[in-house]
């Protein structure tokens, strides 16, 4: 099953409470995905800074070690904020590659969930209410965010199997559905030097879109090629630096509802996900068409 939510703020009153709204939306989708939950939040970018979100199974030990390790490198200036099993490292954009490589080489237990000027990804096993509480999502602000509640069908219930999946800097994807050709597609992408952390079908979709965009395609083109290459059921919501996009497969049996007011654009797997939003009763509410790419950007 799975549940998806997304919120794109057009006005300050929404972005100031983005975390509150997204938390409520995600919790309302608990029936659709009680196994695990996750969110990508796009906050304010800091001039010439970037953020790396890392996750650990033993955060107390690993994060202390990582902080010490980075502090020992005199040339790296950074800030380090721990959110439960995740930590967000803010650093100069020029040092991004050096630090990501250092983490990959020296900390095999740490997983890099996201890199970007705006995006932070938080995801864990557990009921959506527990996950949003664990990361204190309600305190977060931002221009837009997308979230997912998972009922696992294609692979194990693990933190890394939870959504969103990062598809590149400031880009991520959440998926409701199941892909039938993910194994063959994964093999093809591995031959093209893409790497995978899980056996999950949605990670293949994320990787597919990343690969296409790395080859110079726009997000719209990458999503349109997904319509040709991906076999299965899907409603995707894709987060980017500036906004979010929606795509449903041509059969469109996975549900999707969009709502728009002068203050926001919201996405939910069901209308229930939107009922906590301000002035929803006055919103324009509709179902996105199958095989059609939608996008809202700042």
């Amino acid at each position: 099953m799975c549940g998806i939510v997304g919120l794109f703020a057009k006005k300050e009153n929404i972005s100031a409470n983005l975390g509150v709204h997204l938390s409520k939306m995600l919790e309302s989708m608990s029936d659709r995905g009680p196994d695990s939950a996750g969110l990508a939040i796009y906050g304010k970018p800091l001039a010439s800074k970037t953020k790396i979100t890392v996750q650990s199974r033993s955060p107390k030990h690993d994060f202390q070690k990582l902080k010490k390790f980075l502090s020992a490198k005199k040339e790296i200036s950074f800030s380090f904020k721990i959110h439960s099993t995740h930590a967000v490292i803010k650093l100069d954009v020029k040092q991004k590659d050096q630090v990501t490589n250092l983490i990959k080489d020296s900390f095999p237990n740490l997983r890099i969930l996201s890199v970007g000027k705006k995006m932070e990804i938080y995801k864990e096993i557990g009921k959506p209410a527990e996950v949003v509480k664990r990361f204190e999502i309600a305190k977060m602000k931002g221009s837009h965010g997308i979230g997912h509640t998972r009922m696992a069908t294609e692979s194990a219930v693990t933190t890394l199997g939870a959504h969103p999946f990062s598809t590149g800097e400031d880009q991520c994807l959440v998926h409701n559905g199941s892909l039938s050709n993910h194994n063959s597609l994964r093999r093809e992408l591995i031959r093209k030097e893409m790497t995978f952390e899980t056996e999950n079908d949605s990670e293949v979709a994320a990787s597919f879109i990343t690969y296409r965009m790395n080859s110079g395609k726009t997000l719209k083109e990458a999503l349109e090629s997904a319509l040709v290459e991906l076999d299965g059921f899907y409603t995707f919501v894709v987060g980017t630096e500036n906004g979010f996009g929606v795509l449903r497969d041509p059969i469109a049996c996975k549900p999707a509802v969009l709502a728009e007011t002068p203050d926001y654009v919201a996405f939910g797997s069901e209308y229930r996900a939107l009922t906590s939003l301000p002035k929803i009763e006055k919103a324009k509410v509709w179902e996105p068409e199958p095989a059609t790419v939608y996008f809202w950007g700042h």
Binding site: C253, P255, E270, Y271, R272, T275, V285, W286, E287, P290
Partner: protein
């Protein structure tokens, strides 16, 4: 009139009250907030007005009762309904009226994919557009579409009439356009007048139905096996 408010009562309590009500009772349901399976399994002639949008499977298996939703409805509206009337003032999601045996559904807005799938006698009137694969495997009843129809309309249709005033993106297998005879025009007028719909021009409607070429196995295909 009895008011049933989701802010005070659970879905189960509300459905129990509706199912256990007396004939000719009138209920107004407040704050449904997209709840699923609201007003299902009613088998008495009562009237239910829902103020707000509902989720999946609203008014499923309906028998005799009149249910009005002042808002939109999620997937599976009036699934397998037997009789009575359902009116939705907004849009409806996938497979509205699926396998419905009788009664009528009136949608003021749009219906999405698979509207009237496997319908078995229900009349469905959609003032807006319908999505792809509507009236898939329809067996009896009428689907009246004021707007446009999506791809593969009436795919594998057995019987049933489809009336469309707008454009049809494509017809499904074994669905063909048929002549609008006097008999069918009066059938259309009857369906619409029963649903109190009067603002239409009957001349704008075209009729679609089964070519009946899938009824029997074609012996020419035997060599495939």
């Amino acid at each position: 009139m009895h008011i049933l408010d989701f802010n005070k009562l659970s879905l189960r309590d509300i459905n129990k009250t509706l199912q256990g009500s007396d004939k000719n009772d009138f209920f107004s349901i407040r704050n449904p907030k997209g709840s699923h399976a609201l007003a299902v399994g009613i088998n008495k002639k009562i009237a239910v007005k829902v103020v707000g949008s509902v989720g999946y499977y609203c008014a499923g298996m309906n028998k005799f009762s009149d249910i009005k939703v002042e808002g939109s409805a999620g997937p599976g509206l009036g699934e397998n309904m037997m009789s009575g009337n359902i009116h939705v003032t907004g849009d409806v999601s996938q497979y509205a009226g699926a396998s419905g045996h009788g009664g009528s559904i009136l949608v003021d807005g749009n219906a999405s994919s698979r509207c009237g799938i496997s319908m078995k006698g229900v009349d469905i009137i959609v003032k807006g557009n319908v999505g792809h694969m509507s009236a898939f495997m329809a067996q009896r009843g009428n689907l009246v579409i004021f707007g446009d129809a999506g791809h593969a309309l009436g795919d594998s249709i057995y019987e049933a009439n489809i009336y469309v005033a707008g454009e049809v993106a494509s017809l499904g297998t074994d669905c063909i356009e048929k002549k609008m005879t006097k008999k069918h025009l009066s059938n259309l007028e009857n369906i619409l007048s029963n649903a109190n719909v009067s603002d239409y021009n009957p001349d704008t409607f075209r009729r679609f139905g089964s070519a009946r070429s899938l009824y029997n196995f074609k012996v020419d295909n035997a060599k495939i096996y």
